[in-house]
């Protein structure tokens, strides 16, 4: 086939020559002069070049050949005007780079917030109250679900945990998690080296073993492989190191670096108070809906058997991915992607404008090529190829920019983002690459179409006769339109960004409110081994606050359950007489934070009323269990001046 096509095309020239000679001969037989005869024959035949090209096109792989030609030609053209090329390339690189970097972030957030093998099949199971409050599973409920479930291959429980690590550098707070026997099989992870826990180690007396996270291992042991068997002092107790996890393993997200066995021996019968997070692995082929249906049956029977503990709660089964990344974060990612899209759009409009300017100066070139027999579609295709080639170059530069941007984000994203996803897993992956290719092609076509249509729509004779200096009225109008749309887009973006910055600034600088410039904060967690009950904790915090207040530079100090404008854990719905009949989601939400007595009087908001009395809020923070939770309790203290805490005062605090 291919061979035949080649021979046919090779012979075509000869064939055409024969044809014209025959026609010439005939014309001469009719009495024409040789010149006239030949001219008439040629005229009747038509454009030889185009005939050859059309014939070639029949053997179709042509468009690919043409593409190759066009690309080579485009590269030659671009090399001829380096300034134009570089400007366009940089413009598109910024647009494409920004979108790709943001895409990588959105991809991380929405698709793989944690690097786990079967993330698609992992679900989170917890209890939800009618008003949308989420709660941990109680151990007894967890056990029963585990026994009766049919749709899950595995169900594992874990408990986040903060330990104070005693090392050569002093005491430091470390994030860890207690995991049950099924945890590692459920999420399917193997240690980098060392081992997982033996089943007998999930018992109270033998559970002093620990698996380290890669970062922790690097930091504390400088990557020493001889770390297995060494001991770690956590909360005043010795834990023997049995394994180290791979670098990309980070679950639950939020800086977990220590995994220890969760021994449920005594607490196993507790049904009312939830203490466990649960992660399950769907059986292959099982859908989330099927699993939900099945588990809700299981839950109904648990409600009937234990109405007191379970009646007010529903079992909620959601994909782990959706559990980690909530709706707000999704919207946040979408917003960012939109903003980046705007930047890319502006870049495209810019490039369109540049190309229009260039089209005017290329008028002669284009008209010469048309005179030589290039069809309009062919010309447009060529010009578009040029534009896409440009965009591809911009795309490559953009990709590099995105890789750099992602590295910067990886290093600098705030802790709040790290809480919900494993930022170290963010990279420009295959999906992001495909996205870049798509973005580059789209912007090439987008920015090239109008200039190409414009450039190929010429009156041949006019532009051949003119010395190429003619100004085309239509193009001027078009370009003005583009400038207008460009400015519009930029203004939209600027206003959006400005509002966001202003909103944040007014939040950060509310002088009438917290006076944040003289506030500083730290948080600490108390080892349950030394501060077993709330009374002990209360005494500790009271003493700590008293001592803090006695420091000359400090005017006031207070313990809170959560810092203002940081993550909060207690959502409460406000129900009033008017709210009857309204949907739950429409009810106003307030954040509830517990504070110790000293914060309100002086730091305080202009709220009417009086501060709490000591008798009303006896260390509510400690009683509500916050101190045992992951973050310990933040302490707020106010300095006399807006200076950063001096080294001396810092040292005094650490005592």
């Amino acid at each position: 086939m291919k061979q035949r096509a080649k021979r046919l095309l090779n012979d075509l020239e000869q064939e055409i020559r024969e044809h014209i000679e025959l026609a010439t001969q005939e014309n001469m037989d009719r009495g024409m002069t040789p010149e006239d005869a030949r001219y008439a024959a040629l005229r009747k035949f038509g454009n030889v070049t185009r005939v050859k090209e059309d014939a070639r096109e029949v053997w179709s792989r042509l468009w690919l050949e043409q593409l190759g030609q066009d690309v080579r030609f485009a590269l030659r053209q671009l090399r001829k005007s380096p300034a134009f090329t570089v400007v366009v390339m940089l413009t598109l690189a910024v647009g494409i780079g920004a979108t790709t970097a943001i895409f990588s972030f959105a991809d991380l957030l929405l698709d793989h917030p944690v690097a786990l093998r079967h993330l698609d099949r992992l679900v989170s199971v917890d209890e939800t109250s009618a008003d949308g409050q989420q709660a941990l599973l109680s151990p007894a409920n967890f056990r029963d679900i585990q026994v009766e479930m049919g749709s899950l291959q595995n169900l594992a429980s874990y408990q986040e945990w903060t330990a104070s690590l005693l090392s050569a550098n002093g005491a430091q707070e470390s994030n860890g998690v207690r995991v049950d026997q099924d945890f590692f099989t459920t999420i399917e992870v193997e240690p980098l080296f060392g081992r997982l826990f033996f089943s007998e180690e999930y018992a109270l007396s033998k559970d002093h073993v620990v698996i380290l996270g890669y970062a922790f291992w690097q930091r504390e042991f400088a990557g020493d492989r001889g770390v297995i068997g060494k001991t770690l002092r956590l909360d005043g107790q010795s834990y023997s190191i049995v394994g180290v996890m791979p670098a990309d393993f980070q679950f639950p997200p939020g800086g977990t670096q220590l995994w220890i066995p969760l021994a449920l021996d005594n607490a196993g019968g507790e049904r009312v108070h939830g203490t466990l997070s649960a992660v399950g692995l769907l059986k292959p082929g099982m859908s989330l809906q099927q699993s939900r249906a099945e588990l809700s049956t299981v839950w109904s029977s648990l409600q009937q058997r234990f109405p007191a503990a379970n009646q007010a709660w529903q079992l909620s089964v959601v994909r782990l991915r959706d559990y980690l990344v909530d709706e707000d974060s999704r919207q946040f990612a979408a917003l960012f992607l939109c903003v980046a899209g705007f930047v890319l759009l502006i870049a495209c409009v810019n490039v369109t404008n540049l190309q229009l300017a260039r089209a005017a100066s290329r008028e002669r070139e284009v008209s010469v090529r048309m005179a030589l027999g290039a069809g309009r579609t062919r010309l447009v295709r060529q010009l578009l190829t040029e534009s896409v080639v440009l965009a591809a170059i911009g795309g490559v530069a953009g990709l590099l920019l995105a890789i750099w941007g992602v590295a910067v984000m990886r290093a600098n994203l705030p802790a709040q983002v790290r809480e919900i996803c494993d930022v170290s897993g963010m990279q420009v992956n295959l999906r992001a690459f495909v996205f870049t290719v798509f973005a580059a092609t789209a912007s090439g076509l987008l920015s090239g179409t109008i200039p190409a249509l414009f450039a190929s729509n010429l009156n041949l004779r006019d532009s051949l006769e003119a010395a190429g200096t003619r100004i085309v009225g239509g193009s001027q109008r078009l370009r003005r339109a583009f400038v207008v749309s460009e400015v519009t887009l930029s203004v939209v973006l600027l206003i959006g960004a400005g509002l966001m910055v202003k909103g944040f600034a007014s939040l950060a600088n509310r002088q009438t409110f917290m006076h944040p410039d003289t506030l500083f904060t730290f948080h600490l967690s108390l080892s349950p081994n030394h501060y077993a009950n709330s009374q002990q904790r209360e005494i500790f915090y009271t003493r700590l606050l008293e001592r803090l207040r006695s420091v000359p530079a400090v005017t006031e100090a207070s313990a809170v359950s959560g810092l203002p404008y940081s993550f909060y854990e207690n959502d409460q719905k406000v129900v009033s007489d008017q709210s009857e009949g309204s949907r739950l989601g429409d009810l106003p939400t307030v954040m509830q934070e517990s504070i110790s007595e000293d914060l309100l009087p002086r730091a305080s908001a202009s709220a009417a009323g009086r501060p709490f009395l000591r008798s009303e809020g006896r260390s509510n923070c400690c009683r509500s269990g916050h101190c045992e939770r992951k973050h310990g309790s933040p302490i707020l203290a106010r300095q006399r001046s807006a200076r950063a805490p001096s080294k001396a005062s810092r040292e005094r605090f650490t005592k």
Binding site: D11, F45, V51, W59
Partner: protein, 118 residues
């Protein structure tokens, strides 16, 4: 502007040109120039084929397997390519012809009453 008009004419002829070539070759294998002349002659010179466009059309028909090509000698002893209708091409010609007749007939029926009224 001139380029656009040309293009439209070629487009208009494209389908029919294939049919005309097939019909011409029904009389026996022949070479390109003869096909062009035959079309012009048989249509009483009404159809002015841009002769060059014949060749891409021939290639297209070869590709579809409706005609074949062979080396031969023309009347004045020159080597030339001879195009021959294949069996498949014959079938195609029959199909296309009846389709064309239906089409032309339909158009004619639509046009006739208007003419008569005048």
């Amino acid at each position: 502007m001139s380029t656009r008009e040309e293009k439209e004419r070629v487009d208009l002829l494209q389908g029919t040109l294939d049919l005309l070539i097939l019909r011409t070759l029904l009389l026996g294998p022949t070479h390109g120039h003869a096909i062009a002349k035959a079309i012009e002659f048989r249509s009483d010179e009404v159809l002015q084929v841009e002769q060059g466009s014949l060749y891409p059309a021939l290639h297209r028909l070869i590709k579809r397997g409706w005609i074949s090509v062979e080396e031969g000698t023309s009347k004045n002893n020159r080597r030339a390519k001879f195009y021959r209708l294949t069996a498949k091409g014959r079938k195609q010609l029959a199909a296309e012809t009846s389709k064309w007749e239906k089409f032309a007939g339909a158009i004619a029926r639509i046009l006739r009453p208007t003419e008569e009224r005048e």
